[in-house]
């Protein structure tokens, strides 16, 4: 039984790492631009398929394909912002939210048009897990956890040490004051999309490594990603990391008592409970 629990914990950390990377972007975008970005799941899908093209199509090594896919997705996010969201920024957040929903549909359709509607994998065949003290751990799962750890550490250093990272936190705290001290807010917005896009791509690629590629893979994960961002405190990137792990682990543990098809419901339920008990989330985000 104990072994089984630890095994589920490992699965939970793997899923949690993926959710955390997605939730960081949702949380950053909400903190800086004040709207819930519904196209984030499809940005994850896009990142995963970019990596597919670089890795399978162009036969580049996976780490290179990973970096290229993150860069391409980050640029896509910046372009989407410049073409669509930027023009709507002076309107109400609801209009931005709806437009991001439309963007989600556009991205998903584009993925289907370009890469087709069926399942794909990066590497065909079966991976044999390592056996450590009776635990089954696949090399891919180690890659995902280590990869997420590296990215989160990088984000932490960026937010704490760099001028633009501090400006980003300042702007999430108080956008009017950020303007008053002379922060170029449009530049911070571009950096926000670069980071949110790259993190979304990483989440999508890790999800595809863990499962497989499909045009609606990211959309399906959107609810747990939002739940993670809200549980952690929306607008707080550190909260998003904690929220991702909480949701991921809770989803895997729920399979002990519930059918696995209720995993998403578990994320939703947990989000509702947190909203009732502690509406600002674990890390005290915005209302």
């Amino acid at each position: 039984m104990a072994i089984e629990l630890v095994q589920l914990l490992i699965y939970g950390i793997v899923l949690g790492s993926i959710l955390a990377l997605g939730a960081i972007g949702v949380s950053l975008v909400f903190g800086i631009l004040r709207f819930a970005h519904f196209a984030h799941g499809d940005l994850m899908t896009l990142g995963a398929f970019f990596a597919f093209s670089f890795y399978v199509g162009l036969a580049l090594p996976m780490p290179v394909a990973f970096v290229f896919a993150c860069a391409a997705t980050a640029l896509t996010a910046v372009v989407i912002d410049a073409l669509v969201y930027r023009r709507l920024r002076r309107t109400s957040p609801v209009i931005l939210l709806i437009s991001s929903f439309g963007m989600a549909l556009i991205l998903r359709s584009l993925v289907q048009l370009i890469w087709g509607p069926s399942n794909q994998v990066y590497d065909p065949g079966i991976q044999f897990p390592y056996l450590i003290w009776g635990l089954r751990i696949k090399p891919d799962q180690v890659t995902i956890i280590v990869g997420a750890l590296v990215l989160v550490t990088g984000l932490h250093l960026f937010l704490q040490r760099t001028r633009i990272g501090k400006a980003m936190r300042a702007m999430a705290d108080n956008i009017d004051l950020a303007r008053i001290v002379g922060i170029d807010t449009e530049r911070v917005v571009i950096w926000t999309w670069l980071i949110a896009g790259a993190m979304a791509a990483a989440a999508g690629i890790f999800l595809a490594i863990d499962t497989r590629l499909h045009p609606i893979m990211g959309w399906r994960l959107l609810l747990p990603v939002f739940a993670a961002a809200i549980v952690g405190g929306i607008g707080r990137p550190y909260g998003a990391i904690a929220g991702g792990l909480v949701i991921g682990i809770a989803q895997e543990f729920s399979t002990l008592v519930l059918s696995p098809s209720y995993k998403t419901a578990v994320a939703f339920g947990l989000m509702v409970v947190v909203l009732i008990v502690r509406p600002t989330g674990l890390f005290g985000g915005r209302r």
Binding site: R163, A167, R169, A170, D173, N174, D176, I180, G182
Partner: protein, 235 residues
Amino acid sequence: MSLLALDDIHGGYGGADILSGVSLTVAAGEIVVIVGPNGAGKSTAMKAVFGLITIRRGTVWFAGENLTRLRTDQIVRRGICYVPQVDNVFPSLTVEENLEMGAYVRNDDASPQLARVYELFPRLFERRSQAAGTLSGGERQMVAIGRALMLEPRLLLLDEPTAGLAPRFIDQIFETVRGINRALGLSILMVEQNARKALGFADRGYVLVLGRNRFEDTGPGLLANREIADMFLGG
């Protein structure tokens, strides 16, 4: 020649005009106070300098340059800092990061300024790695003023720096403002609810009523004016 001049400013926040003809000047090295009843447009006049309202008519001059159509960050780069009345610190950033943000538009190393601000407010040095949101009201005001000084501005705009503070902090803030004015030769334009005290220490003052200039005189001159006293100094 005056450092700052507002010339017949009309404007507001997009709806009806809050300001309908405000003119004022601040000379280099001067402390000027704007007083007036609630809703007179005191804070709005200050925001007009900083490009934070829609100016429909009139011009803002700073050191011979027209600021009226500039963006806020461009105005900051010309050497004007604005300390709003409320929400004037970044709560989740540490005290030191708040101060660093004040030097955001500078491209040089701001550590000498940081040392100067810590010298002026030793309490901020003690609390430098604490989140600004956990500070008391008076300490936050020090952070906000300290942050403005990081830029070494030529003009400092203070919007009711003593609002809601305990009496012992009020005197301390006034002393600090006078201190930085003397030591740095910094011009100061401030809005104050605490009219009697503010006029007592300002070089000159303006009384705004309903978005227009009503009186203009030296600080003591305004204090001695019976009409002003009857109007809102409380006799």
